[in-house]
Each structure stands twice: as structure tokens, then as C-alpha cells.
């Protein structure tokens, strides 16, 4: 008797788990939306944008994500599964530029247009793999880096001298590379006396960025600024700088404009963050997809604006885009 009770218990639990999920399920899904992960405020804001965009456009969608932004093969599997539901469009934020291509090719073959959310695909590589991307929408990461450099040159002056540290993202990640590259190129033009003395991968990790900052402060006591390819790392760098008593001497800039960064900027620790607006990206992606399905032509690339957040900007609260910070 007992094992049978346990089998029953198992069945009950399974029945319990599954319906919890069916709230999302719908017999008439319209758009399939595949994100990287939801365990990150950036993607949470993107999700909100998609939700509001779908409401405004009067369309339905179902959303999937995988457990982390490293889970490439699971994302491919999820993508294949999503096609079983035959969505009208696939809006995907691929974990890297190649992983989803087999699935997206199948989508094309089924007549489903493919949207590149957050600019993770390379149109050239996709074309070679037989994938036609309807359009790319996202933030221009090179421009974000440049904006950071512009702001720094403006703050320190174009004749400022000193050492600058760049903390990149995960080695090999295109987003981090573009941000760091944009920053370095622009800085060389705008404030040539500010020398980038090191450009190291911080792997998007707070602790790692803090350690790098410590090491470089020891090596280059004249360090005047640090550019980090995301806010998480910038917040780590800030802690190291303040712990070493150099908080007021070193200008630290992050990218993303996430909640913690905003708090840190308001309390005068982090100097600036180049905010991307994933909420707007998600919202506009849905609207544009609807237009494409209705037969309108879309630009190959659409970049949503980014803005530099500083204590002043946040205090003034005048920029209309500030309301899209999530």
C-alpha cells in the first residue's frame, strides 16, 4: 500500500506544480518572447515593457527565459519548444550571436518572422546561417560607452591628466566589448591626456571588479577615473575606492542605470551611470513587430536612446526619459 500512496503523492505534487503555471498559458498565443533570464533587473524591466507594449497593441504573447544568461543550450531547447505553439512572431534575446540560429531558421521556414531583441545577433552571420532577421531593436552599446567618455571629459576637462581604468564584462561578451571599446575610442579623442592604463575583464562580477580596482589603485596612485561595462561592477569598484579613502578622487562610471546604481548616485558614491531603457526597448519591440506583421517595412536596426544619470540629473528630474527607468 505504502509505495502506492507515495506514487499518488508524486502525482498530486505534479498536478499541483503544473496548473500554477497555466495562468500564462493561452490557446491563442500570438507572439513568442524569449528572454535570457529573469533574475536580473534589466530583463525584468524589459518584461514590463513587453507587457505594456502588448496591452497597447492589443496582442497576446507568451514569455520564456532560462535560468541564467550563460545557459545557451537550454535557451536553444526552449526556443525549439516555443515553435510548437506556432507563434505569429518570435521576439528573441539570444544569449550569444549563434546559439539560436538553428531554431530561428526553423521559425523562418514556418513563416514566422524573427525579431532580434537587445541586439544580440549579427545580421551577417545570421544571413549565412539562412536566418532572416525582421529587425533588431536594442540599445547601442558603443554609443553608451562613448556617452560615458563624453561625460567624463566634460567633468574633468579636456586637458585633464591621469590614469583611467576600464573594467570590461565577461571575456568574449559582445555587449561588454562594445561598451568598453566605445569608451576608449571616445576618450582618446575628447581628453587625450587621460590614459587608459588597464582594461581588464571583470566578468560582470561585483567582487572581481572590486579586486581589480584595489590592484590598479596600488599600481597607479594617480588613478582618476574608472569606467565599468555595467553597474554591478561599478558598485564593486566604488566600494574599493571608498575603502581606500579615494572615493572623492576617483570618478566612477557604470552602464545600465539599475536601481542600486541610482541609489548609489543619489548618495554621492557612484558618479554616473549611462542608463539604458530596457522598458522602452521591450515596449517598442512589440509595437514594431505588430507593424511588420501588418506588412510595414522596418529599419534593420533601431536603437533606443540612452541617458547619463548623475546626481544632478536625478535631482532635477526633468528628463522625460527618466520615467522609463525601472
Amino acid at each position: 500500500m505504502k509505495p502506492r500512496t507515495r506514487t499518488l503523492a508524486l502525482a498530486v505534487v505534479l498536478f499541483g506544480v503544473a496548473p500554477a503555471a497555466t495562468t500564462h498559458a493561452d490557446d491563442r498565443p500570438v507572439y513568442g518572447v524569449l528572454l535570457k533570464t529573469l533574475s536580473n533587473p534589466f530583463w525584468g524591466a524589459m518584461e514590463q515593457g513587453v507587457r505594456d507594449g502588448a496591452k497597447e497593441a492589443g496582442v497576446q504573447y507568451f514569455m520564456q527565459a532560462v535560468e541564467s544568461d550563460q545557459a545557451a543550450e537550454p535557451q536553444l531547447n526552449t526556443c525549439n519548444t516555443m515553435l510548437e505553439r506556432k507563434p505569429k512572431a518570435m521576439i528573441t534575446a539570444a544569449i550569444n550571436s549563434t546559439i539560436l540560429l538553428p531554431c530561428l531558421k526553423r521559425a523562418n521556414e514556418m513563416g514566422i518572422p524573427v525579431v532580434d531583441l537587445d541586439a544580440n545577433l549579427d545580421h551577417e552571420i545570421a544571413r549565412k546561417a539562412g536566418v532572416k532577421i525582421a529587425f533588431t531593436i536594442g540599445s547601442d552599446n558603443t554609443a553608451a560607452g562613448k556617452q560615458g567618455a563624453d561625460w567624463l571629459a566634460g567633468k574633468l576637462g579636456k586637458d585633464a591628466r591621469g590614469a583611467v581604468l576600464v573594467i570590461e564584462g565577461l571575456s568574449g561578451n559582445i555587449t561588454g566589448q562594445k561598451r568598453a571599446q566605445g569608451f576608449k575610442e571616445e576618450l582618446a579623442g575628447k581628453a587625450p591626456q587621460l590614459k587608459v592604463v588597464a582594461s581588464l575583464p571583470g566578468d560582470w562580477d561585483r567582487q572581481k571588479a572590486a579586486n581589480i580596482t584595489n590592484d590598479i589603485m596600488t599600481r597607479n596612485p594617480d588613478l582618476v577615473a574608472i569606467f565599468c561595462a555595467n553597474d554591478t561592477m561599478a558598485l564593486g569598484a566604488v566600494e574599493s575606492a571608498f575603502a581606500a579613502g579615494k572615493g572623492s578622487k576617483i570618478t566612477i562610471i557604470g552602464v545600465d542605470g539599475n536601481v542600486d546604481a541610482v541609489k548609489s548616485i543619489k548618495s554621492g558614491r557612484l558618479a554616473a551611470s549611462v542608463a539604458q531603457l530596457p522598458y522602452l526597448v521591450g515596449k517598442q519591440a512589440v509595437a514594431k513587430t505588430k507593424a511588420v506583421l501588418a506588412g510595414k517595412k522596418a529599419d534593420e536596426y533601431t536603437y533606443v536612446t540612452t541617458l547619463v544619470l548623475t546626481k544632478q540629473v536625478l535631482a532635477d528630474n526633468k528628463d522625460p526619459n527618466l520615467k522609463y527607468l525601472k
Binding site: L14, A18, A21, E67, G172
Partner: protein, 326 residues
């Protein structure tokens, strides 16, 4: 000398021991399939079944390797990293080192075999605990994969290789054939050859194995080498499927593979294992993941569901075993 003569207690082999697969795994799988067929209209179809098999192929092959090592009371934590390294070496040998593609595939398997042999040698000859050795290999293999590629995936392989990962002879994805062929072959090896039986005897009672004249340490090296080779084969499939040697491929896969092995009825402490059981275990995870994807359950709940099913399945198993021994 036969196993019976080695004095293995009858209760361990029992009535159920003669079955290919323990019943509980099949019950869990059947309940899941029935449930998901009711909950999702997209679940029960040929194309979705192929999706599940395709999505399970890499983890399944990895789990077969894990089964041999665990059968002999060992553990291999390096599977995921060795998978990543094998794919990278295979892709580099074709793209950067100018090898013909069949040699590249052999490089995948060879890399796995080499890593596995090193694990085996260190465990058997140097006497370092398997947990430590393979944890070390987890780091070394992953690091080496990143060093070799500078962290950037090696994209764009030979068409023949891509066919192995993405081709569909007779409408069935090629990796599925490899997966099922490996299952059939390894099932025979573990269940019906001296090599497999000795592995189980070592796991059950090392002293008895010695008394039988099994060269335990040599056998152990061979088992780790086999496990590594399976990681190499999984790396090959991963590489072919994603059309890239991805240095971050397979992170945490060892845990999923070990979970599938345990779900399939293998005793974590050795002595009891079948490949058919592991196949069922891997399919349970594949079906669950696929079903939860179809129902658009958030990846957060998915991890909870998989953890719950693992614990419940083992609980069921132990309840039955306790009853069998009474």
C-alpha cells in the same frame, strides 16, 4: 568467477534487480507524459517528441558516462567542463589548425578520453579522492577552453559537422540517433559484459572485487576514461548542434547529468546502475523541462519542479527497497 560466487547479498539484486529499469522511474515518466498531454495541446506530437529527444541528447550522453563512474562508487564532477573543452578543441582543430573534419571529431572524443584518463590516474594511482580530482579537472578544463579561445566561441564549422548536429535524416534529428545508439551500446556494456559487471562489483564491495581477482585500480582508470569519452561525445554533439566551439558550453551540466542518473535508479554510492534506467531518468528531466516550457512556466519554478521530482523519485525508490528487504 561469477558475481554470485563473490557473495553479493541476494537482497541487493532481488526480484527487481533482474528488471532492466526500476518501475518507479517508468511510473514517474508515464505520469508526467499523461499529465502534460492533458495540460498542453502541443505536448503530444511527433515533432515535440523529437524536440524532447533532441534536447535530452547531450545531457543523456553525459549521464551515461556518469552512470559508469557512479556504478563503481566514484563521481565525475568534470563532465560539463570536459564537454566544453572537447567542443572547443574539436572546433579549433577544424577551423584554426586545418584538420579535416573527421579528425576534428576524433579530437573531441580524444580530448574527453584524455581528461578522463587523467582523472582516473589521479584517483587510482595517486589516491586522491575522486571528488577533489574531478573538481580540479572542472576548473582546469574550463580554464583551458577559455585560454584556447580567448573566451570567444569558434563559430562556423564544416557543413558535414553541422549536419551531425542539425541534419534530419528521415525527419529525425541526427543527434537523436547518436543518443539512442549510445544508449543501446552502453546498456549492453554495463549490463552484459564483464567490464560492466566488474564496475558494479567494485561499487558494491571493493574488497569482494579484489577477492574475485578484479584489478580494481586499472578498472577504475578505464571507467573514468570512458566517462571522459562520453563527455567528449557530448561535446561533439554540442559543438555540431550549435555550429560552434563554445568555451562556456556545458556549465553545470555535470549536476544535471548526475540528477538524471539518480532519477534512473542508480545508487549514488555504487553497486546498482543500468543505462536503460539512466535513459529514463534523462527523459524524465527532458519531458519535465519541455512540458514546463510549453506551459510557459517561469524558469524559477522549473528549477523547483526538477528538484522536487528528484527527491520524490528517490524517496519512492527507497520506500520500495525497504519493503523488499523486510
Amino acid at each position: 568467477m561469477t558475481i554470485e560466487a563473490a557473495g553479493i547479498p541476494e537482497s541487493k539484486r532481488g526480484r527487481r534487480g533482474r528488471l532492466m529499469v526500476r518501475l518507479e522511474s517508468v511510473v514517474v515518466l508515464a505520469v508526467l507524459v499523461a499529465l502534460l498531454s492533458v495540460l498542453s495541446p502541443y505536448f503530444l506530437s511527433v515533432s515535440n517528441t523529437l524536440n524532447i529527444l533532441l534536447a535530452t541528447a547531450v545531457i543523456g550522453v553525459l549521464a551515461f558516462g556518469a552512470t559508469f563512474v557512479i556504478a563503481a562508487a566514484g563521481i565525475d564532477l568534470s563532465l560539463g567542463s570536459v564537454l566544453g573543452l572537447s567542443g572547443v578543441v574539436g572546433a579549433l582543430s577544424i577551423n584554426a589548425w586545418g584538420m579535416p573534419w573527421p579528425v576534428g571529431l576524433l579530437f573531441c572524443l580524444g580530448t574527453g578520453a584524455l581528461c578522463g584518463s587523467i582523472n582516473g590516474l589521479l584517483v587510482a594511482r595517486a589516491g586522491i579522492p575522486a571528488f577533489i580530482v574531478t573538481l580540479g579537472m572542472l576548473g582546469v578544463a574550463r580554464g583551458l577552453a577559455l585560454v584556447l579561445t580567448n573566451g570567444v566561441p569558434v563559430y562556423g564549422l564544416d557543413d558535414a559537422v553541422v549536419y551531425i548536429g542539425q541534419g534530419r535524416p528521415a525527419g529525425v534529428p541526427f543527434p537523436v540517433f547518436v543518443f539512442l545508439a549510445a544508449a543501446a551500446l552502453l546498456h549492453l556494456v554495463l549490463g552484459h559484459t564483464r567490464f560492466g559487471k566488474y564496475a558494479l562489483v567494485i561499487g558494491d564491495n571493493e574488497g569482494a572485487a579484489r577477492a574475485m581477482g578484479v584489478r580494481v585500480q586499472r578498472h577504475r582508470i578505464a571507467l573514468y576514461a570512458l566517462s571522459g569519452t562520453m563527455a567528449g561525445l557530448a561535446g561533439l554533439l554540442f559543438m555540431a548542434r550549435t555550429n560552434a566551439g563554445d568555451p562556456t558550453g556545458g556549465i553545470n551540466y555535470e549536476l544535471t547529468a548526475i540528477t538524471a542518473t539518480i532519477l534512473g535508479g542508480t545508487n549514488l554510492f555504487g553497486g546498482r546502475a543500468t543505462i536503460a534506467g539512466t535513459l529514463i531518468g534523462a527523459l524524465i528531466m527532458g519531458v519535465l523541462q519541455n512540458g514546463l516550457n510549453l506551459l510557459a512556466v517561469s524558469s524559477f519554478y522549473q528549477q523547483m519542479a526538477i528538484g522536487t521530482v528528484l527527491v520524490l523519485a528517490v524517496w519512492l525508490d527507497q520506500a520500495n527497497r525497504a519493503r523488499g528487504q523486510r
